[in-house]
């Protein structure tokens, strides 16, 4: 997968934050032939390793399990002009991610073993990080017939979703939750009532009323999540709510968890960073579905992250070219790229006091790994090293022209941020590095 050699390195005195095992300490981490051999204070290499193992001083830097983005659109197959598996995984590695779960709304849709196998093959050939395909709930995302979950599982899919579209038919959603249990798939819900959202371009509220843009009420999301948790309770299926944007959604998920329903949820950096005020200039870069909400929703999302209602942070990386984005707002496509902007925005939650470093890291490592049953997200001696080294202090201005992604639809350009990935090790190999060689 990677052209680079497995590392033989002793990383000295980094701050090792591994929420999966409850670690937050300054320590060394020894990687030999790409495998984590030891983690501890002042590791002694001994005579025989001193000459072959490089030592790298990581004082002031964080060392975390490799970040996992459980929600991205890689656009391959079918829309390679927006992103490819090669460019998307390069972007992921540059953003500190060692793994991405890619959504099935490609062309053709990933609703069968052949497409899943194709994605995995391309990832093996050209990918810079782990790629875990998510299969479609319904064939062609049409909401009519179930995809063959067993075959998808066999080919390497790790979950199912119709992301990009909701499952409007409640019976279809019931059956998906039931049938997915055979394969231990979580069912990822894009929660949106299309009837309520019809024609909407942004969040419905004061700003949409002012701008004369059709609104999408938060109720379109909240009502669907309410339905889905009700069905999860009925079926005992595993439900995961994608891209939670609204205060009401956080309340519904919190209550469902309190009742013991098997539901997990993610939000995205733009939902805890931006509000619908961003639309005042009519710039399509801020057009996304679900839409950017109000300040009270942003506060509720942060509360949901802090109290664990929202388990994971995923980017919903959605590359679009100028063809889809450089138009009138009404005709522009929904979505923003996120792989290379997420890290400083997640770290900002720590600076704001919303999350502890350990909580923040959990949202992008152990939690998404557990939801998707991935063998990632925490350090284990003897395993290939999947880790992210972070400089949490580096200050810079976000500039998507420097990104690895093929697309430039980044809503954070020009924003002063702090923190970036210094090294991303994928299976013991440097997928991205700012360290001097």
């Amino acid at each position: 997968m990677l052209e680079f050699e497995a590392v033989n390195t002793l990383y000295r005195r980094g701050r090792i934050i591994d929420p999966g095992v409850g670690t937050d300490m300054t320590a060394d981490i020894l990687v030999l032939e790409g495998r984590i051999i030891d983690i501890g204070p002042e590791i002694d290499l001994g005579m025989d390793l001193q000459n072959t193992v490089k030592e790298v001083d990581l004082r002031g830097l964080w060392v975390t399990p490799g970040w996992v983005d459980m929600h991205v659109h890689l656009r391959e197959p079918g829309e390679e002009y927006k992103e490819t598996i090669a460019s998307g995984t390069r972007a992921a590695a540059a953003g500190g991610f060692v793994a991405v779960a890619c959504m099935p709304n490609t062309k053709p849709v990933n609703d069968c073993a052949a497409v899943t196998a194709f994605i995995r093959k391309r990832a093996r050939e050209e990918g810079r990080c782990h790629v875990f395909p998510v299969g479609a709930i319904s064939k062609g995302l049409k909401g009519e017939d179930l995809s063959e979950f067993g075959e998808l599982r066999e080919a390497g899919a790790i979950a199912v979703t119709d992301d990009g579209r909701p499952v409007m038919n409640s019976l279809m959603m019931r059956r998906a939750l039931e049938y997915a249990r055979n394969f231990d798939f979580p069912v990822i819900s894009h929660a949106e009532d299309l009837g309520l959202a019809v024609g909407g371009l942004m969040n419905e509220g004061r700003v949409s009323a002012m701008l004369g843009l059709r609104g999408i009420p938060a109720a379109a999301e909240v009502a669907m999540i309410q339905r889905d948790v009700t069905l999860a309770e009925l079926t005992k299926g595993r439900l995961h709510i994608a891209h939670v944007s609204a205060a009401g959604s956080v309340r519904v998920i919190r209550a469902a968890k309190a009742r013991g329903i098997a539901v997990t949820a993610e939000t995205a950096p733009h939902y805890f960073t931006l509000t619908d005020e961003s639309l005042v200039g009519f710039d399509p870069v801020f057009k996304v579905n679900p839409p950017l909400r109000g300040a009270e929703d942003v506060a509720a999302i942060k509360d949901g992250l802090a109290d664990g209602t929202l388990d994971a942070i995923a980017t919903d990386h959605a590359p679009h070219s100028v063809l889809e984005k450089d138009t009138e707002l009404e005709y522009a496509a929904n979505g923003m790229i996120g792989l290379e902007s997420a890290l400083p925005l997640v770290l900002n939650l720590v600076k704001e006091g919303v999350l502890t470093p350990s909580q923040a890291v959990a949202k992008v490592t152990i939690n998404p790994s557990r939801i998707l049953s991935l063998p990632l997200g925490r350090f284990k001696k003897g395993e290939l090293a999947n880790l992210t080294v972070i400089n949490p202090e580096t200050a810079y201005v976000m500039d998507s022209r420097t990104f690895q992604s093929k697309s430039r639809n980044c809503p954070f350009d020009g924003r002063a941020v702090q923190g970036h990935a210094v090294l991303t090790l994928v299976d013991g190999r440097p997928a991205f590095s700012r360290l001097e060689r």
């Binding site: 004061r206 138009t327 009138e328 707002l329």
Partner: protein, 312 residues
């Protein structure tokens, strides 16, 4: 510091002194329209492009007459939303027109914010002739001019806007403009056609006409579009006419000097009855007359932008 803007995109961003200045210029230019020779050389050699992506008779004609009376060269591009589906967007068209070095674009488009997007892309001046449900600044300006002609002032008046507030760019631009000028704006219509948040935007919101008609110095009636039934916003035009139509019996409860306005085109018998539209309180045709003067003022102010001085 009267008016230094490159574009006129909306009323919301204007200062009171800018509105005053536009209205003052419009009042002084209005006289040209009553001369035997209705033409002055003010914008000779300037090119005004009318980009109309939405059907319009009144506004388009009004802008065209205004430009011609100032001696500008004008040409019109009609676009339809179907060409957008085919892949040609307004911004594509713009790139071609840009090469012909126009001085002013006048744009009407069904998508909110399009005039703003255009203005960011061109060194030429842009006048928003109506963008989606967002703003229709020249309409609000001609409405303010008309109210002031009849009432002598804007400050302290109660202006009642009746109808489909949610989908109306005219309502929004008038709300911003009239509020800035010191008038009280009351919006009235069925709950499905007024967003809940409108009271946060400076309007008084009311759903019962009989409660507000006696207070109104001005009643501005908005067009009700027929597709609102398909969107489940109204059960029928008939019920709308019964509950919210402005007719003679409702008008009898109003102040004796109330004026009736309508931005056109009217659905007679739906939002306004014929006897009210053509009655003694109606100033609807004055609005049309003032529309030319206001648009001359806008073209004059923006078309003269690069020059140190200009005379009318």
């Amino acid at each position: 510091m009267p008016f230094k803007r490159k574009d006129l995109l909306g009323i919301r961003e204007l200062e009171v002194h800018e509105i005053e200045h536009i209205l003052k210029i419009a009042a002084s230019l209005k006289e040209i329209n009553t001369r035997p020779i209705k033409k002055v050389p003010t914008l000779r050699g300037k090119t005004v492009v009318h980009l109309f992506y939405e059907p319009s008779t009144r506004t388009r004609t009004s802008f065209d007459i205004a430009a011609k009376r100032l001696s500008a060269d004008t040409f019109s591009i009609s676009g339809s939303t179907s060409s957008i589906v085919k892949g040609e967007t307004m911004l594509d068209t713009l790139k071609n027109l840009e090469a012909m070095k126009p001085d002013v674009f006048v744009i009407r488009h069904s998508a909110s914010g399009t005039a703003h997007r255009l203005a960011q892309r061109t060194p030429a001046s842009v006048i928003n002739a109506g963008d989606g449900m967002h703003e229709h600044p020249s309409q609000a300006l001609l409405d303010m001019m008309t109210i002031r002609e009849h009432k002598g002032r804007l400050d302290g008046l109660t202006v009642l806007i009746v109808g489909d507030i949610a989908h109306s760019r005219v309502a929004r631009s008038n709300l911003w403009g009239l509020s800035k000028m010191g008038a009280r704006v009351v919006v009235c219509g069925p709950t499905t056609l007024i967003p809940l948040e409108f009271d946060q935007l400076g309007a008084s919101v009311c759903h019962r006409l009989e409660e507000v008609i006696p207070e109104a110095d001005v009643i501005m009636v908005l067009r009700l579009q027929k597709e609102r039934m398909q969107q489940l916003l109204l059960p029928s035009l008939r019920e709308y006419a019964v509950v919210y139509g402005i007719n003679a019996s409702r008008l009898s409860k109003a102040k004796s000097d109330v004026i009736i306005m309508h931005p056109g085109p009217m659905n007679r018998g739906v939002e306004i009855s014929p006897e009210v539209a053509d009655g003694p309180h109606s100033v609807i045709l004055d609005q049309v007359t003032n529309g030319v003067a206001v648009r001359m003022a806008l073209l004059y102010l923006l078309g003269q932008r690069q020059e140190s001085s200009g005379t009318v």
